[in-house]
């Protein structure tokens, strides 16, 4: 099996896998990193979202070959030890989650959005979450958390 090398949450990782094996399964079942979730495997829900070089991608649609050489951030890499990322804190402040299964992906999507749009308007938030599924309907709270995180950054 060929080797592939990525940076995962700041650390270099090399793994062996079929070049076609999606990164989602490498993370979940080879690298013991189950924070990234399987919702559909075909790109229809976004539950598998990770950041590749800072931009959100659906890891079920990124093969090991395509992943090779890139830097990835998963939900496990957001906090600094016990210190949560501001978006994670905003998510807790607004009590966003219901079942929570989509929330790692939602948080990463929000992190990426706020990097490029420090104070996003509703339409920009909608665009960032186009095709993103939260079956429990926590969208109103996701919006409030994003607004809160944006305001917290501005007031720093």
């Amino acid at each position: 099996m060929p080797s592939h090398s990525i940076t995962l949450n700041g650390k270099p990782v090399t793994f062996e896998a079929d070049p076609a094996m999606p990164l989602l399964w490498v993370l979940r079942e080879r690298l013991s990193s189950t924070g990234t979730k399987y919702g559909c495997g075909v790109g229809s829900c976004g539950a598998c979202t990770v950041l590749r070089d800072g931009a959100p991608v659906r890891s079920c649609q990124v093969t090991s070959a395509e992943a090779n050489g890139h830097a990835f951030t998963t939900i496990e890499g957001l906090a600094r030890g016990a210190t949560l990322h501001p978006v994670q804190l905003a998510w807790l402040d607004e009590d966003v989650a219901q079942c929570g299964y989509c929330q790692p992906a939602a948080i990463l999507t929000a992190v990426a959005l706020l990097k490029t749009h420090a104070d996003p308007i509703d339409a920009e938030v909608d665009d960032a979450f186009a095709g993103f599924v939260c079956r429990c309907g926590s969208y109103p709270r996701m919006r409030r958390a994003i607004r809160r995180a944006a305001q917290a950054a501005v007031s720093k």
Binding site: M1, D18, M21, P22, W25, R28, E29, R30, S32, T34, G35, T36, K37, Y38, G39, C40, G41, V42, S44, C45, A47, T74, I75, E76, L78, A79, L84, Q88, W91, L92, D95, A97, Q98, C99, G100, Y101, C102, Q103, P104, I107, A123, V125, D126, D127, F129, A130, G131, F132, V133, C134, R135, C136, G137, S138, Y139, P140, R141, M142, R143
Partner: protein
């Protein structure tokens, strides 16, 4: 509770759900509390361990929640109730979900009844433990117990300024007898109940460490994917697995009752192995099932009288002689649960026993079903309950557990069977479609004199073979049988057809279709009478015969006020109302504000939801449940449906069975009616009127009745 003198079947089930908790703490004759926690979850060996509460010497309080957590917040709400009466410091509380067994016999999580049924028992348990703590401190201080009080986590003797933390007292509790008259707090003094509390699993969720069934990993575990057939119930006649076994990573292929299982070292290899299988299938019994044809059959069937579920006066005669009559036929399509975490279970069948790890709403049923299938005593089957990535009624099924047990038994080792998204959409059970034939009549003054509601539909088949008859008809006519409005002449009937595909409970179960037909036809009658839809409804309530009538009138009035009903709207927008009494308990009214674009897209701008659900234990979690139910209801009202062709659902992912997107989500205004009544249900209740409110608003917007759910572009003309 409902007005009927005898308990309905559901009421009996609700009361039974907490029969275990009524025993509170099981004391032996010596007054010692039995230890029932699993060793790995137990606090230090000193301290106090009861069936529902444990207190560690360091003051940590562990509260047991014998329910499945699927996002409805039960792991937060139930501990809040106990912690209140025990007078805990909330920061000292952790939550433990046990395995089902003789100590936890009622873990079934359905009917939105965990908080309603758990309120009194959890209060009594908390008060009982508080009483033990007070008496233990009083004994240690040699003062009367009546002179002691508690502050969060501490017993206090004000007169001598002495204080002892619960942790310090924990070791002294086991020798004390339990009081059989626990004193409950005056709600005016609640510190926790009624306050907005963050979900206990929040930090685990946002850091990706929350444990769902699909995340379970046990040593030596394999992963499996099951190929299930071209139509529901198909069985493999011939399996050519040579190519499948040649896929790298695939280790074995075995046939199990639910299909052909490919076992591999990872899920992706298992799925690829599945794609390489060549299977000849013997078609299932419903291989020709087509849902479009079925709904047309139901439309015809709804002309029959069916089983008479409820009647008053003579509706047919009243309609025949009335000056103004209306008829309408409403169609409600099949739906799926589609929780984001697909069905899965991890099983390890080994010498004389079985361990299972899964998220489930029916832990005891899983234990019993797996034991029966494997020929074991229930005590030899251990279920480790995980969080659920969504339930909505689908995780009441035991099918995923049985399947994993079968695969594990076949390979002789631990395995996780993870369903694909298309498996999850196609091979479970469904919310059934139905057709509702409505008829009504007005007298010369515009007063409603007759109402007929005939539903043509199917019973649930996923868990048992239903017995057709009047009782079943009544049970299927939620929203029709318990119509809260009063008519001089009424007939409610059900034409029951055999289910063509597995059907089972979905969020709000039989209410959404019944309420759709009822609340939309009420709007049609209101329009025929030239009356405002809200005033029309209120005028048809009879407080003297229906105890919930005053509450329903209140929520309708408040919904009118909060939504700006009757006030000016931007051009192209319209409002629609729908209300419901959910099983005689929770009462709610919703107003949807919509617009319909030229390209026939419905946009919901705002949805106002007024709920009377008794005491709101956690306003933060409760508002979340309302928002959640509204989005769930809007998805079914607007976004998609399950259609069947050749015995199989045609949808396979969120591409063709879409969920409401963030950009499509309206402003959701939630209002709880202040109430001191005990809590009643909230997990699914607010789904029930959503489709009707939307259809009523859309109908007003386009000036034509829309009698279909979900609303498709073709229904908008």
């Amino acid at each position: 509770m409902s007005a009927t003198a005898t308990l309905s079947r559901r009421e009996v089930l609700k009361l039974a759900a907490f029969a275990g908790a009524a025993v509170i703490l099981e004391a032996t004759p010596a007054g010692r509390i039995r230890r029932v926690f699993a060793a790995e979850a137990a606090p230090a060996t000193a301290g106090f361990r009861g069936k529902w509460v444990a207190i560690a010497p360091d003051g940590r309080v562990t509260i047991v929640v014998a329910r499945g957590e699927m996002g409805q917040g039960v792991r937060t709400t139930l501990p809040m109730i106990l912690a209140e009466e025990m007078d805990c410091d909330w920061k000292d509380v952790t939550v433990f979900t046990p395995s089902p067994g003789p100590d936890y016999r009622n873990m079934r999580t359905s009917g939105s009844w965990s908080v309603g049924g758990g309120y009194e028992p959890y209060r009594r348990i908390g008060a009982t433990v508080r009483d033990l703590l007070v008496r233990a401190a009083a004994a240690r201080w040699n003062v009367p117990a009546g002179e002691c009080t508690t502050e969060p986590g501490v017993v206090v003797h004000a007169a001598t300024k002495r204080r002892l933390g619960y942790g310090a007292l924990a070791g002294s509790l086991a020798t004390l007898a339990l009081t059989d008259k626990p004193v409950l707090k005056d709600p005016a003094r609640f510190r926790i109940i009624g306050k907005p509390m963050k979900r206990v699993d929040g930090r685990a969720i946002v850091t990706g460490t929350a444990g769902y069934g699909a995340d379970v990993r046990v040593p030596q575990m394999k992963f499996a994917s099951v190929e299930r057939g071209a139509n529901l119930g198909a069985t493999p006649a011939h399996v050519d697995d040579a190519a499948a076994r040649a896929v790298p990573g695939v280790e074995r292929v075995v046939t199990v009752p639910s299909g052909v299982a490919v076992i591999a070292r990872d899920s992706w290899s298992a799925q690829r192995g599945r794609e390489a299988l060549k299977v000849e299938w013997t078609p299932g019994p419903n291989a020709a099932f087509d849902s479009r044809a079925f709904l047309r059959e139901l439309t015809e069937a709804s002309r029959e009288p069916g089983w008479e579920a409820r009647a008053a006066g003579d509706a047919d005669a009243a309609i025949a002689s009335a000056p103004k009559k209306l008829e309408a036929v409403y169609e409600y399509a099949f739906q799926a649960h589609a929780p984001l975490e697909p069905m899965n279970a991890t099983a390890h069948v080994h010498d004389g026993g079985c361990e299972l790890w899964l998220g489930t709403q029916a832990a005891n049923q899983v234990q019993e079903a797996v034991a029966k299938r494997l020929g074991l005593d229930a005590g030899a089957v251990t279920i480790h309950c995980q969080l659920m990535g969504g339930g909505f009624g689908r995780r009441l099924g035991v099918d995923m557990a049985l399947e994993a047990a079968e695969v594990s038994r076949a390979i002789g080792g631990p395995v996780q069977v993870l369903w694909s998204r298309s498996d999850d959409l196609r091979y479970g059970y469904f919310q059934p479609g139905s057709v509702h034939r409505m008829a009504g009549a007005l007298d010369a003054t515009g007063k409603v004199v007759a109402w007929k509601h005939t539903m043509a539909g199917v019973p649930h088949s996923a868990f048992s073979e239903p017995t057709f008859g009047v009782d079943l008809a009544r049970d299927l006519m939620w929203g029709g049988f318990d119509n809260p409005y009063v008519y001089a002449n009424l007939r409610v009937g059900h034409v029951t057809r055999k289910p063509p595909v597995p059907t089972g409970p979905w969020r709000a179960v039989h209410y959404p279709p019944g309420v759709l037909a009822r609340e939309c036809f009420m709007d049609e009658l209101a329009a025929a009478a030239g009356r405002d839809p809200i005033a029309f409804r209120i005028a048809m309530l009879a407080p003297s015969t229906e105890p919930t009538a005053p509450r329903l009138a209140s929520v309708l009035k408040l919904a009118a006020e909060k939504s700006g009903w009757g006030g000016a709207l931007p051009a192209g927008r319209a409002r629609g109302v729908a209300a419901n009494v959910y099983d005689g308990d929770t009462v709610l009214a919703q107003v949807a504000e919509v617009s319909v674009s030229a390209d026939r897209t419905v946009r919901v701008h705002r949805l106002t939801c007024v709920v009377d659900c008794g005491t709101v234990v956690n306003p933060l979690g409760a508002a979340g449940q309302v928002e959640s139910a509204v989005v769930f209801g809007l998805t079914a009202a607007l976004k998609g449906e399950i259609t069947f062709a050749n015995g199989l659902a045609e949808q396979s992912s969120y591409f063709d069975y879409p969920v409401l997107a963030m950009g499509e989500t309206p402003e959701i205004d939630v209002h709880f009616v202040p109430s001191a009544a005990p809590p009643c249900g909230l997990g699914e209740q607010c789904v029930s009127p959503v489709a009707a409110a939307v259809n009523n608003a859309v109908s007003t917007a386009i000036g034509r009745r829309v009698r279909r759910s979900p609303v498709r572009a073709v229904d908008l003309g």
